[in-house]
């Protein structure tokens, strides 16, 4: 009953939720939450294709690297957010306009 396409549909819906979160929110931490959703969708695709297409474990290793990169990205991104809050007293994305003009 469960096949490759059901996993792909779940992953696709997760990706779209991440896109909507990144676009609709104006809070930097909320946008980082959306990024986590998108990275999870990609890693889920790797694992699903490993299970249903070729049973070598390279896809699992790629998912593992995606998880590592998501952890590093969250650490650096939140450090930047905290520094931005110390300078600007705000985490609204429209306050980050220093490079625009």
């Amino acid at each position: 009953m469960i096949s490759l396409s059901s996993y792909l549909i779940v992953s696709f819906a997760l990706f779209l939720c991440g896109i909507v979160v990144i676009i609709a929110r104006k809070n930097i931490i909320a946008m980082l939450l959306g990024m986590e959703l998108i990275l999870n969708a990609g890693a889920l695709n790797f694992a699903a294709y490993t299970r249903f297409v070729n049973q070598n474990l390279d896809g699992h290793v790629m998912s593992l690297f995606i998880i590592i990169i998501a952890a590093a990205e969250a650490a650096v991104g939140l450090a930047i957010v905290i520094r931005f809050f110390q300078i600007k007293e705000s985490i609204h994305i429209d306050d980050a306009v220093e490079l625009q003009s």
Binding site: V10, K26, N27, D58, H60, A72, A79, I82
Partner: protein
Amino acid sequence: MFLDTMFLLSALATLGGALMVVMSKNLMHACMYLLLSLFGVAGLYATLGADFLAATQLVVYAGGVVILMLFAIMLTGGVEEFVNKFGINKIPSMGTTKTYTIGAIVSLIFSFVILKTLSPLFKNYSQADLPPMESTVEDIGVLLVTDHALAFEISSVLLLGALIGAAVISRPRKINGGSK
């Protein structure tokens, strides 16, 4: 069957959590729903036979990333100003109907493009000849130090760089009279 029930429960947790991350008006609640969604993804990994990935997902996300997000949310809380420095009304930080409409339009365009371009590549593989699930930890360990040794080393350097970079960026600096 057990596997189908597990898949349905995990997919429900994943998609429900993701939808509540989209809809929730409170950032702390959104982070908690993200935690639910990540647990659902770990369950999906378990139904795929990826036991090591499921454990890593739980350890890294539930133990690391979500806690870090909660700390950042609590450290950056404060009174939200509704007017920027030019005196123009700001968009509320958790979004309005207009931003959600734009997000829905963009996601529709995305889904159209992805379905149009990737559906010719899609083949449905038959379920019948799947091998039984077995432990993947040993094979992943062997792969990490043989085939993917370079990527493994680079990721260790990346994590060290992220650690030092996060410490340097978020260190408080004194503007005048300090050790600048």
